[in-house]
């Protein structure tokens, strides 16, 4: 199919660019930017599965992100367990939390899911802040270990992190692309658009919402693990914060919910904007960036709910007419 071919071409170009650019531009700050960009694109794509495709908006994805961070970092700190295993543990725990939220909530219509995710994020932050094993509000610092892939620690250079994140970005995008073309992808979109009609077509609605949430939670947790291992310090106030949840939602809403390229486009705009606004406006903690972001979400909702992807489509449509 023409559409599929286009995807593979564009996707390959992007991957090659992302892989080669940091070799050409040997600037640490640029590399950092690229890592954050790819990480948040992956993260937002994970959110997109449940929030965009299946249409169940989560305002508490920090809970999965934080669980992933802690699952990779705590066993590493305490027992020296390889973070690859920790990552997997985090993914599994995130799936369990997804079940705890989803099983009672997905049978119901309305805003129960949004409420639950929002509340559960606060609850889990409360629990971690009071959990001594993970040093409560202070959080965990990654121990100094031997460099390499086993410990996922690289001190000299950011490039290995970049390539690891790039691999996960690749997996996430490919998975989403394939999913769009399977029965499950169609079912997600049908549930979002017309749940009753979907049910009449034989779709087990709560089951498919649950699948979407579990996949989303799993990959969000993996991103959380990568983030912790890259930043080397995690605490409830960062990895479990509302800020993380906000950022994920915002990137996807800006780029385009339920659209394959939405998360990447959103990240390309927002991540540099945020990093640079922090530099320009100074780290005053006064949240100018969040003022802009909040206003931006509202404006997107009002003027182009399909986000940047929608804008591009509009542009394309007009070009087609002329």
């Amino acid at each position: 199919m023409q559409n599929d071919k286009n995807f593979y071409i564009i996707f390959s170009i992007i991957l090659i660019f992302m892989a080669v650019a940091p070799l050409v531009i040997q600037n640490t700050h640029f590399q950092h930017l690229l890592i954050m960009l790819l990480l948040f694109a992956t993260l937002s794509q994970a959110w997109n599965l449940i929030g965009g495709y299946a249409g169940q908006v989560s305002f508490g994805h920090a809970v999965f992100f934080g669980i992933g961070s802690y699952a990779a970092m705590a066993p590493l700190t305490h027992w020296g367990l390889t973070p690859w295993v920790g990552m997997l543990i985090g993914g599994v725990v995130a799936i369990i939390v997804a079940l705890i939220i989803g099983v009672p909530v997905f049978r119901l219509k309305g805003h129960y899911f949004a409420i639950s995710t929002f509340a559960v994020a606060e609850v889990v932050r409360e629990l971690f802040t009071n959990w001594e094993w993970v040093d409560g509000p202070i959080g965990l610092d990654a121990p100094v270990l031997e460099q390499g892939f086993y410990n996922l620690m690289f001190y000299k250079n950011k490039l290995p992190y970049l390539y690891i994140v790039l691999v996960f970005f690749f997996i996430m995008m490919l998975l989403t692309f394939r999913m769009e073309r399977t029965r499950m992808g169609y079912y997600f979109r049908a549930i979002k658009q017309r749940p009753e009609a979907a049910q009449a077509m034989g779709v087990h609605i709560s089951k498919y919402k649950q699948y979407a949430l579990m996949m989303s939670a799993f990959f969000t947790a993996i991103c959380g693990a990568l983030y912790g291992l890259y930043i080397l310090h995690i605490e409830p106030a960062t990895v479990l914060s509302l800020d993380i949840s906000i950022k994920i939602v915002l990137i996807t809403a800006l780029g385009g919910t339920g659209a394959l390229w939405g998360p990447l486009l959103g990240s390309i705009i927002l991540i540099p904007l945020q990093e640079y606004s922090r530099i320009w406006l100074g780290g005053t903690g006064k949240g100018i960036d969040l003022i802009l972001l909040g206003a931006l979400i509202v404006l997107i909702c009002i003027y182009e709910p399909r986000g940047i992807v929608g804008l591009l489509k509009r542009f394309n449509f007009q070009k087609g007419k002329n």
């Binding site: 169609y186 979109r189 049908a190 017309r194 009753e196 009609a197 049910q199 009449a200 034989g202």
Partner: protein, 240 residues
């Protein structure tokens, strides 16, 4: 053997009885028309038969199997599918994708589903609109999509809830043609419709609901002469 059989089916919403001890059956290959004023319980009956609601009392059988408590999403797999009174096409999907949504019920694989959907598009005369977005089409086309999607699930029984409401005479004519064509494939059909000429024309048998009760059933020519029906329903629209 009856394809669908309702035995003493009652449905209560709190104190309000939407259905009262309905006994009704549909035979293989039959087109049964359901008529009655608004709020008579026709759509509630559909909801009970398709697992959208579980009736308060009584049982519903499909080919002898008790389906009273079968959840809504299973009903389609058993072989019953429905349309909606207010059109419910997947408005952001293309026409093909809408029909594929139905075909997925029997063909989990995307390309198989697509092939099956293509056949249905040809059959229902939607083939030339295949790649258009459903939401951009006329009401008549969206209703047709719903019909196509419904038969794409390869059902034995379909329940059509006012598929002709809001259509102009020419469109209604086309819809009737399509329903007859679907019937010729061997499907059993229950139709709820407000347009009297239509329902009298296509139904083999008609059941009249009023205030949640089945007041009379029989062939069309008997129904039009029934005093209670004329009073309950036909009075203004058909008689006057």
């Amino acid at each position: 053997m009856a394809v669908l059989e309702a035995k003493d089916v009652s449905m209560y919403f709190g104190e309000l009885a939407a259905l009262k001890e309905i006994n009704l059956s549909v035979e293989q290959g039959e087109i049964l028309g359901l008529i009655g004023p608004n709020g008579a319980g026709k759509t509630t009956f559909f909801n009970c038969a398709t697992g959208f609601l579980t009736c308060t009392r009584g049982d519903i059988f499909f080919k002898g199997q008790n389906i009273t408590r079968v959840p809504g999403h299973r009903v389609c797999h058993i072989g019953i599918c429905r349309t909606f009174q207010i059109v419910q096409s997947f408005s952001e999907m293309t026409v093909l994708e809408n029909v594929m949504m139905g075909a997925f019920c029997r063909h989990p694989n995307t390309s198989n589903s697509m092939h099956s959907a293509q056949d249905i598009l040809d059959f229902t005369g939607l083939a030339d609109k295949r790649d258009q977005i459903a939401g951009s089409l006329t009401l008549a086309d969206q209703k047709r999509i719903e019909l196509a999607r419904t038969i794409a699930t390869e059902p034995d029984l379909i329940l059509l809830d006012e598929v002709m409401a809001g259509l102009n005479p020419a469109e209604t004519e086309e819809a009737i043609e399509l329903i007859k064509k679907i019937h010729q494939k061997g499907l059993t059909i229950i139709v709820v419709e407000h347009v009297m000429e239509v329902i009298m024309n296509i139904s083999h048998r008609i059941a009249v609901f009023d205030s949640g009760e089945l007041i009379v059933e029989g062939p069309p020519e008997k129904i039009v002469r029934d005093e209670r029906v004329i009073q309950a329903y036909l009075g203004e629209e058909y008689h006057a």
